[in-house]
Homo-oligomer: 556 residues x 2
């Protein structure tokens, strides 16, 4: 940078990452010229809040405008230009070609440092009819307004949401809140495809309990229009049809990398703009942040796209500082931590699922525990299922998933924090968490999961997955007869029922030479039973999460 | 241990640490003889739940019995003997002298391994009248029953709680819930003396808002009895008096170390039973866990007592395993993480307060931020104040305190987890926390505090404490005139009011050579103003937490 002339920092995209970059750059450098270019009419809006405005939980649209262009000009002296689209980058001459302004003319803006925060665009399925007025994606305030206008119409009674990811679930919840009969279509065989299947199941049950019609394992093949060009029916790959007044598509996003590609910037293996630890692209004067950029993903060490608001904001802040001053802390690894609420269920995750670890060839094990979110003797305790995925030999935590009600986000945040330090399940046993009856337990669900994992690593106890094939195994259900009668263990016709408290006396009923699986309601009594049998020479495993997870029921 | 004869493990004390030790020992060794001796009638009861039974939030007394003796016998084959007190240890012959049984006879029990979990006893103030029937401490179920019986009486209208620590606050809350006019007396000048004073203040305000009469900075000098021997009046050190029907003393606990002292076991500097990393005392066959034992305290590295349920349970589990098998993981350092609810306020802390760090001579700095517990645009966001204490040069996190409503426990747990890894404030900036509008913010309060700390370390911004003496300083309040008029900055008569958005134009009104303090409502605008002034050559600091913390008001 020229010492006499303050730098010009041009930022492309004015939402999470871009706005963070712009404001941090200003705080670092009062004299820099900072130009924020946004192709849409709004900057710095609450993109994660859009579904909640449609659902009228956030009644006031203005609440979504976290910072208006006028606010950013006044407080941060930013040169904010909305409805200005950058159409090319001339890296040689360090300038961007912009189209915008009253007459949508094209002109050039010079930069010393350029920060790309172009975000991502919703993917449309390759079928006819997605252009209809009542088929929408949700990415910005205009989308929000259009969807909300349709929902607000009295004749709108039904909706189909396509894609059971985070935004799909949030939309479903809000559309149901608005009184619409809502269907959810997901190509995968489960909702929340980033989760392991059994962890997603309680969320699916909660959706159905709230009247949502679930269509899993099916794609949309056709959108049938009426004579006015409005879609009235969704046709699925199995031939079934759903009549609807509104279709919301949430099947994924594609990073907006065209500008970067055209400029010859390196694109990473995950399809995002390649970056280094300071969010610099292959051109050191150009940074990339947000959904279009790649980050270092903690559990795998690979660089990949992570389309989440938290990393976008933090990366924007660092890139803004680096652009303004020439230095900053490196961008920390991200763990992909996320959370979603669907009616009374909350699901959260961080890092790798077991399925993803398997797919990547990472040697992983996992344990699943079921526990209450605070002391069971204090009223209002809610059950949560917590699954911990870890590296088989080292015990390094690879990821975690939790589903339940209150306190799910807290446990995932604690584990995500341990992952930031490359923590092991053994270290996780020792985290000193706050406890009082309304908030937790002296042995927190996090501890219980970590204890189970260490027991497995230390050879104290072995587990099998909740969906394990029990054929040929001696299956011992150590619940009481009344419990077993109420909910027999799924997928096992030939179960020996011996309550844990009778197990020591009734060992003679079991075959110590047959591989044995013990199960209880959630895994705690199974743990005790497994220890008894192991010490009597049995080759025994405890069914992870017990009948609760295997049967996918809620016991409380 | 003799390979042919299973070991005898004797455990003294059957609540948190003792019960955890006994059950883990059994799971590790089916054949061990495990004798659990408890001087009281109950084992494994929910000691943290006692106030809530008095307050009838936990209506059923049986809920407090986490595990009955009969349950422990049945499920874990423990030889549980309640009303059995160990009166001496004969280390030479490896046996304990016990008094108990129907005729309270005295006899000896041999041990191979002995685990001491004797807990702590409430401290009584050295004054007359503490023996009255209506002057009680709260430690076990008998205490609970006695207090509850008094509260249940219709003629009981008023109560005095002495000691504003965790149990004192919980009792106050529950007594108010029961309709008693309740007073709280605390010798220190603040409630929750483990917290820094300004962090405890919102809790004090919440107590007063709920009708609690607060008497801080005063001790109890006399308990005045009526002719029936019941205390009817509490006299304080300033001469003031409080009429009362019930006195609950919660001024602290003393570790029950007599048995250990008499046996010649080493006592540590903090007055607890000295232990090594496996919770072994100076006699390798004797372990100590729970409130009477010492732990390694993370922030200082010193061994000290930590009278909290979490460490007791975890240490008991490890000691039980070590006693049963000869090996276990070492006990992790503890951070002293704790949480308490008082009506609508929650306060939580971990590690060192700033005051404690100062007292220990640890070079510490701190930052305080005020932020919402989830996205501000999503309804129901509650304010929290979060203070982060860190080592000045290294940035190693030493502790944190938070006060507010929802989400306070989560932030402290995240920071406590980072502390378990000796994390720095710089590493804390990068923790990847779950975010969706109902759960958090893309820039979480944890991040905001860590950012502020790093800004200070990097020389980007300086802070002064909320109670700083502003004499001689140029104080610039960058809030709007309306905000300032509503709540003028406390303790500063001569404030220049320049809203942050006008600061750049009105720099000429300020003296660039006078040391300057900027303040706003919570510190965010102050940060922006401090950066503007610093870049214009001012020697400027931002008032930590702004007027919210300095004035000790809730801005919302």
């Amino acid at each position: 940078m020229n010492a006499t002339k303050p730098p010009t920092i041009v930022i492309v995209g004015g939402v999470a990452g871009g706005a963070s970059a712009a404001t941090r750059a200003r705080r670092m450098n009062e004299n820099a010229q900072i130009i924020l270019l946004e192709k849409d009419p709004d900057v710095s809006f609450a993109n994660c809040g859009l579904p909640y405005h449609i659902g009228e939980e956030i009644p006031n649209r203005d609440s979504l405008l976290v910072a208006t262009p006028e606010f950013l000009r006044r407080r941060f002296r930013l040169d904010v230009r909305t409805r200005h689209e950058v159409i090319s980058i001339d890296r040689e001459r360090k300038r961007v070609e912009v189209r915008g302004g009253e007459n949508a003319e094209t002109f050039w803006i010079d930069y010393d440092k350029l920060i790309l925060a172009p975000g991502a665009s919703p993917v449309l399925p390759p079928i006819e009819g997605t252009d209809a007025d009542n088929v929408l994606t949700l990415r910005n305030l205009s989308d929000t307004d259009r969807i909300k206008a349709i929902v607000d119409r009295e004749q709108t009674r039904t909706a189909v949401v396509v894609g059971a990811g985070y935004i799909g679930l949030e939309m479903v919840e809000q559309l149901v809140h608005r009184g619409l009969k809502t269907s959810l279509v997901e190509l995968q065989s489960q909702v929340l495809p980033l989760l392991d299947p059994e962890m997603a199941e309680p969320v699916a049950q909660e959706l159905e309990a709230n009247g949502v019609a679930l269509f899993r394992g099916r794609g949309v093949t056709r959108l049938v229009k009426d004579s006015q060009g409005r879609v009235t029916e969704v046709v699925l790959s199995d031939g079934s049809t759903i009549a609807t007044d509104l279709v919301v598509l949430g099947i994924g996003v594609r990073p907006n990398t065209k500008l970067a590609v055209d400029a010859g910037l390196e694109i990473g293996a995950s399809g995002g703009i390649a970056t280094n630890d300071f969010m610099q692209t292959s051109d050191a004067d150009i940074y990339a942040v947000g959904d279009a950029a790649e980050y270092r993903f903690g559990p795998s060490g690979q660089r990949m796209r992570v389309a989440l608001a938290g990393p976008a904001n933090r990366a924007g802040r660092l890139a803004g500082q680096h652009a303004a001053t020439g230095h900053s802390d490196p961008m920390p690894e991200v763990q992909g931590t996320s959370v979603v609420r669907a009616f009374g269920a909350t699901a959260a995750m961080t890092g790798l699922s077991r399925a993803t670890a398997n797919r990547l060839g990472v040697p992983a094990r996992s344990v699943t525990i079921v526990a209450k979110h605070h002391a069971g003797y204090y009223p209002g305790a809610q059950m949560m299922t917590l699954k911990l995925v870890y590296q088989s030999e080292t015990g390094t935590i690879l990821g975690a998933q939790a589903v339940g009600g209150a306190g799910v986000d807290k446990r995932i945040d604690v584990i995500a924090t341990a992952m930031q330090f490359k923590g092991t399940v053994r270290q996780l046993c020792g985290v000193d968490l706050s406890y009082a009856p309304p908030f937790g337990s002296a042995k927190d669900p996090v501890h219980m999961a970590a204890f189970a994992a260490c027991n497995e690593i230390d050879g104290i106890e072995s587990f099998c997955d909740s969906d394990a094939d029990l054929t040929g195994k001696q299956v011992v259900d150590v619940r009481t007869p009344a419990e077993i009668e109420r909910i027999p263990l799924a997928g096992s016709s030939d179960v020996v029922a011996i309550a844990v408290d009778e197990l020591r006396e009734r060992l003679g009923e079991l075959n110590a030479r047959q591989p044995t699986v013990v199960s209880c309601a959630v895994g705690v009594r199974g743990h005790i039973a497994a220890r008894i049998l192991k010490q009597h020479g049995f080759d025994v495993v405890n069914l992870s999460g017990g009948a609760t997870v295997r049967n996918r029921v809620s016991f409380d």
